[in-house]
Symmetry: C2
Subunit: 321 residues, 2 copies
Amino acid sequence: MKTYAIVGTGALGGFYGAKLQRAGLDVHFLLNSDYQHVKQSGLVIESIDGDFTLPSVNAYDRACRMPACDVIVICLKTTHNRLLPDILPNLVKSDSVILVLQNGLGTEAAIAKILPDRAIVGGLCFICSNKVAPGRIHHLDYGEIKLGAYADGYQATPITQMMAEIATDFRNAGVAISLCADLLLVRWQKLVWNIPYNGLSVVLNATTDRLMADPHTSVLVAQLMHEVKLAASACDRDISEEFIEQMLAYTLKMKPYRTSMKIDYDSGRPLEIAAMFGTPLQFAHDRGVELPLVGMLYQQLQFLNAAALPAKNYLPGDEIY
Amino acid sequence: MKTYAIVGTGALGGFYGAKLQRAGLDVHFLLNSDYQHVKQSGLVIESIDGDFTLPSVNAYDRACRMPACDVIVICLKTTHNRLLPDILPNLVKSDSVILVLQNGLGTEAAIAKILPDRAIVGGLCFICSNKVAPGRIHHLDYGEIKLGAYADGYQATPITQMMAEIATDFRNAGVAISLCADLLLVRWQKLVWNIPYNGLSVVLNATTDRLMADPHTSVLVAQLMHEVKLAASACDRDISEEFIEQMLAYTLKMKPYRTSMKIDYDSGRPLEIAAMFGTPLQFAHDRGVELPLVGMLYQQLQFLNAAALPAKNYLPGDEIY
């Protein structure tokens, strides 16, 4: 039976970790501000799939107190990735796998520098969930994960036995999971959605439905998606016109949705700008492709992020890439 | 002695009209919501150049009650230009001149369609002034006007005798004024400043100093200015790199400034998007030049404008171009 370390017990880590523990796996949760509460009271999951409570979990406030685990699941916001060089060495064995459940681009490559000899798997989560109180996660919808192994420079690479075993654990825990041989393609595909909606929702103070209902911003969303397609293409990854059409049609049908970046902004948290905008722009730029509209959105978000956050809470370079 | 009609007695029209009347000219003011107040109490000008009061002015609530005048000064916001076809025919004689003191592009061409046989002069006002109460104008700084005659298709055209006479009237009234033979060049030059600062101040809720202090938005401002330069170039008007550098340096030294579009936005008034963004974009597009960043700013402003205004207060096409 595999052991799991959950690094960052919030909307994602709290939800998936609790599901794994409920399925009988040995799960260890790293917490920060919620540590005392969760150590005493455990985790409460309010989910459309059924509520449940774990009155007792293995809670830790410092990585050095945790056991080395088979699978290290990174559920931090990318804005806290500066902590990874201190956290990760405490948690790994020689055959540990690092599973990165974050948006954007670049964390796997950064972890490969910290732990050059460990297997790294990237995961994209298609989920609506929020932490509504310490140790209390509200899971509103969806939940699927897509996994892809990381190989040097994000080259496509076959699905491994270890990925299949992790997938089995998640499926046994009631989490839909799929495996793919091209992590970078999946990351670009998710960025097709994340870049326009996360960015514009913050800059224009809007939910997805309003961005789609307005004739000007619905066109702008599609233009931004096409720039992401161009960037993916510069990385030899093909995003079809049909995929973009599907994303637009899908969002048009969705219930009004406040994006994760908008929730961060409204909560006074730093925005995941580097992972979701900076590194994708850099990937494209390094391959000779500029993305003017995405670049402008990046500049606007940097301004709003800096304006919203006292300097002491957020330093340039907080996201390591 | 020339007679002047002031169409729109606000921050601009109230200020310049009062200066002309104080200098002894025969001035007629068209008002809307402030009509009763100004008819009874006149105009109060609080100016860095010296405060003054005009206890009695020729105030009108309808253009059809006004006398035809020699110079018709259009000081409406461009968002009210839909009113011009009803207003203007009441005010003109065979030799009247229409003086358009508005930002952006396109009003002169629109007026030429309403009054094909009248001389039209465009004017750019470099002034900080606000209407702070009915009939009460606060003039904070500057005040210069640049005039250029309108000729079909905005071609460059010589300075006329009539322009020189108008300039003399304004100078006698204490208003600095300069004449130029290329109205379109002057309009594009002012758009170099107006497009980035007016647009970004609304989208990012910021004064000019904050846009310049942030490393990301200060670059974005310069990028937007360079797109305006490209558009001007497509219209065979040259804006030099030095001019852009001067605008940036000038704004960096200015006191923190809330742009006119931001004041409109904060006051719940419709934004001058068509004149300041839509028509400039169209001018460039018609000449085969696209402005991606200005276009994105236009889309964002349209979204914010529509979101802020109840539909009854503002209809698409309110600005006639």
